[in-house]
């Protein structure tokens, strides 16, 4: 199976790999997936408390090329967005942008879950209610 040029680009030159300080109150961390399933994604956002804008986003991913590309793309899209706006990122937008084939859709779902999970972590730190899980099945 051939990969799309965009997947190859993100895989070869991943954007925003790295780690933010988990204990920083303005950082939200999402860790999703499981090693047994062959994919684990960690996505972090740093939010400007005054403006509510995402100033920085970082990821690390254990997974296939499509999973790496999905998380790399997610960090690009997150930067500069407001927290609420970030929640509108849909996994199908990622599928479309990266031209992922059907068997790789779950890699993009993982990225969406990671975004949600990072935002929830930030919300809880700020004393807000976590968002309810989005049902998919």
């Amino acid at each position: 199976m051939a990969y799309s040029t965009k997947v190859i680009d993100h895989y070869s030159n991943p954007r925003n790999i790295g780690t933010l300080d988990k204990s920083d109150p303005s950082v939200g961390t999402g860790l999703v997936g499981a090693p047994e399933c062959g994919d684990v994604m960690r996505l972090q956002i740093k939010v400007n408390d005054e403006t509510g804008m995402i100033e920085d986003a970082r990821f690390k991913t254990f997974g296939c090329g499509s999973a790496i590309a999905s998380s790399s793309l997610a960090t690009e899209w997150l930067k500069g967005k407001g927290v609420d706006e970030a929640l509108t990122i849909d996994n199908m937008d990622i599928v479309e942008e990266l031209a992922l084939p059907p068997v790789k859709i779950h890699c993009s779902v993982l990225a969406e879950d990671a975004i949600r999970s990072a935002i929830n972590d930030y919300r809880v730190k700020k004393g807000l209610e976590p968002l309810a899980d989005k049902k998919r099945y």
């Binding site: 690390k60 254990f62 296939c64 068997v103 779902v109």
Partner: protein
């Protein structure tokens, strides 16, 4: 400079040796006859070529030429051996013993006869891939007709104790079949010394063409028979009908002759290169070799690069043609059942790569592969959250993962 990409998937298939191709060519055009045509020289010429190939093949495995039944490959040979024995020996019993690490051509055929009324015992190998002879003996019942255990494994290369297994079969009056597809031409196999009654093998794993293989069926002590699975003109002593693939068979024969002459030197050369590859990659942290290292085919290694996912790694080593035990692309998302049978955790199975060296693999290629793999593993580990946690001393088994 080495030519890219480098082929290191010789357990999946091998290129045809130019000497094999050369032997085959005249049988497409000039000597195109049907080996079953008895009335003219075209047929005789083809039959002569088939007879000669049968001898070349028989010589490699130490059997009589009449004991070789040509098929379309090892998948068909396995089907014929299991279904054919199941039908032929129905009076004697319906119980078969095999192993969970067999090729799908064995496992799915066993599932098929299970539906027809067969009882199958699937032995579980230990963590290095070898079966327990004690468990094998305990599995035998008075209804057991055949034991089928592969010679060398296609994913990890582990070689089973064939002689010991066949002794047990013989002592109990049970037939012994082995899928020797990965072993023939790579290590010495002798049906008499090894006590084999039926044996499947295939030309395309030993520098012959695809679509041709053989089933060895013992004719003496005991005389073994299988019920044909293909009805027709009664070719191959009635066990496998169908016009013979003459050019393919000629190539198969030539491939066996070459293997016989060159096996010793080739095995030594390839195991030295394989060991070099392993040694260099083991210099990295958290790299594991899967399967028994002593009883192993000379040209293959299966390694897990912990904290890196196999499919992601394969994408990173795009100049190498290898395969992974990670099956993230398959609909099931299940990693290799062979590695799981060895008791490998799913995470290590997801991190595995099989390197299969072959006759045309050079030392320069292995040197290139070493650097390429090291670079990719390092890069991917820098991207891996699991590697970071491991480095921080976090016990990954204690984390509650959000499996999806």
């Amino acid at each position: 400079m080495v030519k890219l990409p480098i082929y290191l998937d010789n357990n999946a298939t091998t290129p045809v040796d130019p000497r094999v191709l050369e032997a085959m060519l005249p049988y497409f055009t000039e000597h195109f006859g049907n080996a079953a045509s008895r009335n003219h020289s075209f047929g005789w010429k083809a039959e002569e070529a088939v007879d000669y190939a049968r001898e070349q093949i028989a010589r490699l495995v130490g059997c009589a030429d009449k004991e070789i039944i040509f098929t379309s490959g090892a998948t068909e040979s396995n089907n014929l051996a299991i279904k054919g024995v199941y039908e032929m020996y129905a009076q004697k019993g319906n119980h078969f013993i095999t192993v969970t690490t067999e090729h799908k051509a064995i496992l799915d055929t066993c599932k098929h006869i299970e539906k027809l009324g067969a009882e199958i015992t699937y032995l579980e190998p230990d963590t290095d891939g070898l079966i327990s002879l004690k468990e094998l003996e305990n599995a035998i019942t008075d209804k057991t007709v055949m034991i089928s255990v592969m010679y060398g494994n296609n994913e990890v290369g582990v070689i089973q104790p064939i002689k010991e297994i066949s002794d047990i079969a013989r002592k109990n009056g049970i037939l012994f079949h082995t899928d020797a597809t990965q072993a023939i031409g790579k290590i010495p196999v002798d049906v008499d010394k090894d006590g084999i009654d039926l044996m499947s093998f295939s030309a395309h794993k030993m520098y012959g063409p695809k679509g041709v293989g053989a089933l060895y069926v013992r004719r003496k002590n005991p005389r073994v028979k299988v019920t044909a699975q293909m009805d027709g003109g009664g070719h191959e002593r009635g066990m496998r009908s169908g016009t013979l693939n003459v050019p393919g068979i000629v190539g198969f024969g030539k491939a066996c002759e070459i293997a016989q002459n060159e096996m010793t030197g080739e095995a030594a050369r390839l195991s030295a290169l394989r060991d070099k590859l392993e040694r260099a990659l083991m210099h990295m942290e958290e790299v594991y070799i899967n399967g028994n290292r002593e009883n192993r085919l000379p040209h293959v290694t299966n390694m897990s690069f912990k904290y890196v996912e196999g499919e992601g790694l394969i994408m990173g080593i795009k100049d190498l043609a290898v395969s992974s035990g990670s099956a993230c692309t398959s609909a099931s998302l299940e990693p290799s059942y062979v590695l799981k049978s060895l008791g490998l955790n799913d995470d290590l199975a997801h991190s595995s790569i099989r390197f299969g060296l072959g006759r045309f693999t050079t030392e320069e290629e292995i040197d290139f592969a070493i650097e390429h793999v090291k670079e990719a593993v390092t890069k991917l580990r820098e991207m891996s959250p699991l590697w970071e946690m491991f480095k921080e001393g976090i016990d990954l088994d204690k984390i509650v993962w959000q499996a999806h």
